[in-house]
């Protein structure tokens, strides 16, 4: 089962895929993909993101030096859905996407062991977690100015039930900028896998339904410019489309 959350005809709806071009709303209406506004596919609670969580990304650092996950938080205002617009400020030199598997918690988790962790996962979606490297500073790095910007965390298109993803640690993921593949990886290369992350996080905080863990991105990030179409895709989860826009759109 996969569901989308969309705005259509004056209300927000949960929808399921009808065919390649249409959605079926919960009330029975069939609507074209381009007739709706795609929202993040669930209402997110606490948003936790991981840095440096892919082996090839981290191996240039001294491997094994990373004794605990590098995690940081985001607020709800950063989120947008599929086919949305993300702002690139005019004065920055390096802004890049990050294709990530997003793990959605479905059952309260406190002090959960690795062995039990997957029982707390409701499902998955695709995340594109943009970063603007110009704003990196070495205080609580990466800080909110880099990672919690309005429009800079894209989620969707689908929420995919965990039961439909037999092995979330064997998924190819890739990013295409204007149709050219710029990033490739596989979720098997996570430094801290999903059970490890749930065990780690639930060791000091209670995770609640709707909380989401963005599990990090592999190597292969490049600068994106206004007008670029950025597609982040994970096999079996979804293909998330986003467009970069400039300050002019915001009358800046």
């Amino acid at each position: 089962m996969r569901t989308a959350r969309v705005a259509y005809a004056g209300a927000v709806h949960i929808a399921t895929p009808q065919d390649d071009t249409r959605l079926r709303l919960a009330d029975g209406r069939l609507v074209a993909h381009d007739a709706v506004v795609w929202l993040p596919p669930f209402e997110a609670g606490t948003i936790i993101a991981l840095g440096l969580n892919y082996a090839e990304h981290a191996k240039e650092l001294s491997f094994g030096a990373q004794q605990e996950p590098l995690a940081f938080l985001k607020g709800p205002g950063a989120l947008i859905g599929h086919r949305g617009q993300t702002r690139r400020p005019a004065d920055v030199a390096f802004m890049h996407y990050e294709c990530e598997l997003a793990v959605v918690i479905g059952r309260s988790a406190a002090g959960v062991s690795r062995a039990d962790a997957m029982r707390h996962v409701a499902g998955y979606t695709v995340a594109n977690d943009y970063a603007i490297r110009d704003y990196l500073e070495n205080w609580y790095r990466p800080n909110l100015r880099v990672k919690n910007r309005d429009t800079c965390t894209v989620l969707g298109p689908w929420f995919v039930d965990a039961g439909d993803v037999p092995d979330p640690h064997a998924l190819d993921l890739r990013t295409m900028v204007n149709g050219t593949v710029t990033q490739r990886g596989n979720t098997r290369d996570m430094v801290f896998d999903i059970p490890a992350l749930i065990e780690y996080l639930s060791g000091f905080m209670t995770l609640a339904p709707g909380d989401v863990i963005l599990t990090g991105t592999p190597d292969g990030v490049v600068d994106v410019q206004p007008g670029d179409e950025v597609v982040t895709e994970i096999d079996g989860i979804g293909r998330l489309v986003n467009t970069i826009v400039g300050d002019d759109v915001f009358h800046r």
């Binding site: 609670g45 607020g75 709800p76 704003y135 500073e137 070495n138 205080w139 639930s202 060791g203």
Partner: protein, 262 residues
């Protein structure tokens, strides 16, 4: 939506919803040690090292690795929903920690959607103020986000209520006092922050929109330094901010979570 507060927005723990009451009645509603829920439900954002003393305490370390300079933009953090508890609720002390640090902060409660706000208009976006205890475990490294030290369950008491902005006056000139078991442990104020609230709100909303009910902490008098009051299991913490209120919470020991990695 706009969050309007006439006087004191309070949510006694036995009431279904918050109510906006005259201060005297709000006080009566929480008499006899009655607990309160947090009367707003937005996101809580804090700012690191907004007190000159906090940066000064680091001395020359600021210029060395890993920091390589004082922060240029506000260094923000989030106190997520698992951290938030109301007035009177217990702050859980992790089993391996001797004490928690008390972070006495004024919380500015956003009244209407704030995006790209200028310092001059910033105060129009504040509905009121509350007292926040930004609880942490000691940490002296600020290079990576301090989730384990900062966002543990119950590490963000808020309350006892939200006081309307017009009853509070200048948020940059309020006396702050911290007691641990009736002993006055810190006497400070909200004066002298590197970024006063209007500038902070402007800098923050330049890149992230705040919504009604969100809380922006205006800064801690100190962060992780030795002057920070500490509280052990069995002790009771009270933070009082002039014209806003007095937030009280006991600290209680917790057992190790089964199978939990601390």
């Amino acid at each position: 939506m706009r969050l309007l507060i006439e006087d004191t927005l309070v949510h006694p723990a036995d009431a279904p919803l918050p109510r906006d009451l005259p201060a005297v009645r709000a006080g009566a509603a929480l008499a006899d040690g009655r607990r309160a829920e947090i009367p707003v439900s937005g996101t809580v954002y804090g700012v690191l090292h907004n007190a000159p003393s906090a940066l000064a305490a680091l001395g020359d370390k600021i210029h060395a690795a890993p920091y390589k300079g004082a922060p240029k933009a506000p260094v923000l953090y989030i106190k997520p929903r698992n951290t938030r508890i109301g007035h009177g609720a217990a702050i859980p002390l992790p089993p391996q920690a001797p004490a928690v640090l008390v972070g006495a902060a004024l919380g500015a409660v956003i009244g209407r959607t704030a995006c790209r706000v200028s310092p001059g208009e910033a105060m129009d976006f504040i509905a009121g103020y509350t007292v926040v205890n930004d609880v942490t475990l000691p940490h002296e490294e600020f290079y990576r986000p301090a989730l384990r030290q900062r966002i543990r369950d119950g590490f963000c008491p808020v309350g006892p209520w939200v006081r309307a902005a017009r009853h509070v006056g200048d948020p940059g000139a309020l006396e702050v006092r911290v007691w641990v078991d009736d002993e006055l442990r810190l006497q400070t104020s909200t004066r002298g922050f590197l970024r006063p609230l209007p500038q902070l709100l402007a800098d923050v909303t330049d890149f992230m929109t705040l919504q009604p009910g969100d809380i922006l902490l205006t800064g801690l008098p100190w962060t992780g330094g030795f002057d920070t009051p500490q509280a052990r299991a069995g002790q009771r913490v009270a933070i009082e901010i002039e014209n806003v209120g007095r937030l009280e919470n006991p600290v209680v020991a917790t057992c190790p979570a089964p199978g939990g990695a601390a």
